[in-house]
Amino acid sequence: MWLTSKLKQVLMVLKPGVVTLKYPFEPHPVAKDFRGQPSWDHHKCIGCGGCAAHCPARTIYIRDVCQDLRVMLYDGAHCMYCGRCADVCPENAITMSENFELATNDRNDITVNMELFMLTCQRCGRCYNMETTNMIDKMGLRGFRYDNLETRAVIQKATEHFDEKMIEESDRHKRPQK
């Protein structure tokens, strides 16, 4: 009796075959609507900074080097791949790619550094519309921003006109310590 039951077991095990994925040797397609590494299209980007304002992990840093040049840095090491930047982008410049093979030995391998050319309004002479109507608009950090890209620190201050003092202060920014 035990032999027949064992044979039955062997047949049951043989039926499904090998289920283990041969993943690192054969590619494995991802599921539909999978959110992998976001990719930027720098020709579409207008540099509004909406992605940086809406990012829950504050992965996107914005630094205005001068009046017309804006540097945006995406640090993938602490990105949660929520896809909110792609949702909020008005020009659809950000798309969530299917790339999930992001393991590295260097943190800087998963960064995107983007230099954007910003035009000033010919009529009002300003770069940004700073007319705030409510507190939520004020929290959006519009205007010139001075995040520190070396220490990867967000500086929660934006100014209407380009301020050289702010950019010098942000160079010396350090994480508050006890």
């Binding site: 289920v19 283990t20 994925l21 993943y23 690192p24 040797f25 494995h28 991802v30 590494q37 930027w40 720098h42 020709h43 980007c45 829950p56 992990a57 504050r58 080097v65 001068c66 009046q67 017309d68 040049l69 640090d75 993938g76 090491a77 602490h78 990105c79 949660m80 791949y81 929520c82 790339n99 999930f100 093979e101 992001l102 393991a103 590295t104 030995n105 943190r107 800087n108 391998d109 998963i110 960064t111 995107v112 550094n113 983007m114 230099e115 954007l116 050319f117 990867r152 620190a153 967000v154 994480r175 508050p176």
Partner: protein, 176 residues
Amino acid sequence: MLAKLCKKAFPKSLWVYHCNSGACNGCDIEILNVLTPYYDIERFGMKLVASPRHADVMLVSGAVTRPTLPLVKKAYDAIPEPKLVFGIGSCASGGGSWYDSYHVTGGADKAVPVNYIIPGCPPKPEAIIYGVALALGLVDKKSAPVELKQVEFPVDMYLKNKAWEDRNVIYQVMNN
């Protein structure tokens, strides 16, 4: 080069110690998922062990919080040399969305030296297998830093403008 060194240093099976340093359990579930028959990581000789003294590799998940910081350091010291540290998940690799908060140290790399990071929230089991295979030298590294530029921008122009303004100071003085 590090992959070659790893091949020499770890010629046989790697035993893995899983260290949760304040993670939300998402990454821990994925790590356990990697050990199941579907993603069977034991074909590379990996095995989960309970004590850091038996382990070669430490998998850190979670942004290292302030209470767990000394414990993570102790566990790291208990692993015999040579050792590898994997930061699994966005929290361990860079601090997650709490990287600049007061109660976390901001990623595993602030507490212990991290050799490989696997970002994702949580990372796919395939991504963890990819990271492991990368450490073993079975696959090539696919990610590289990206630099995008809209226009080649003449920064010198601004310095010139500044010099021009400095020269025009005389007119302001005259007006005053």
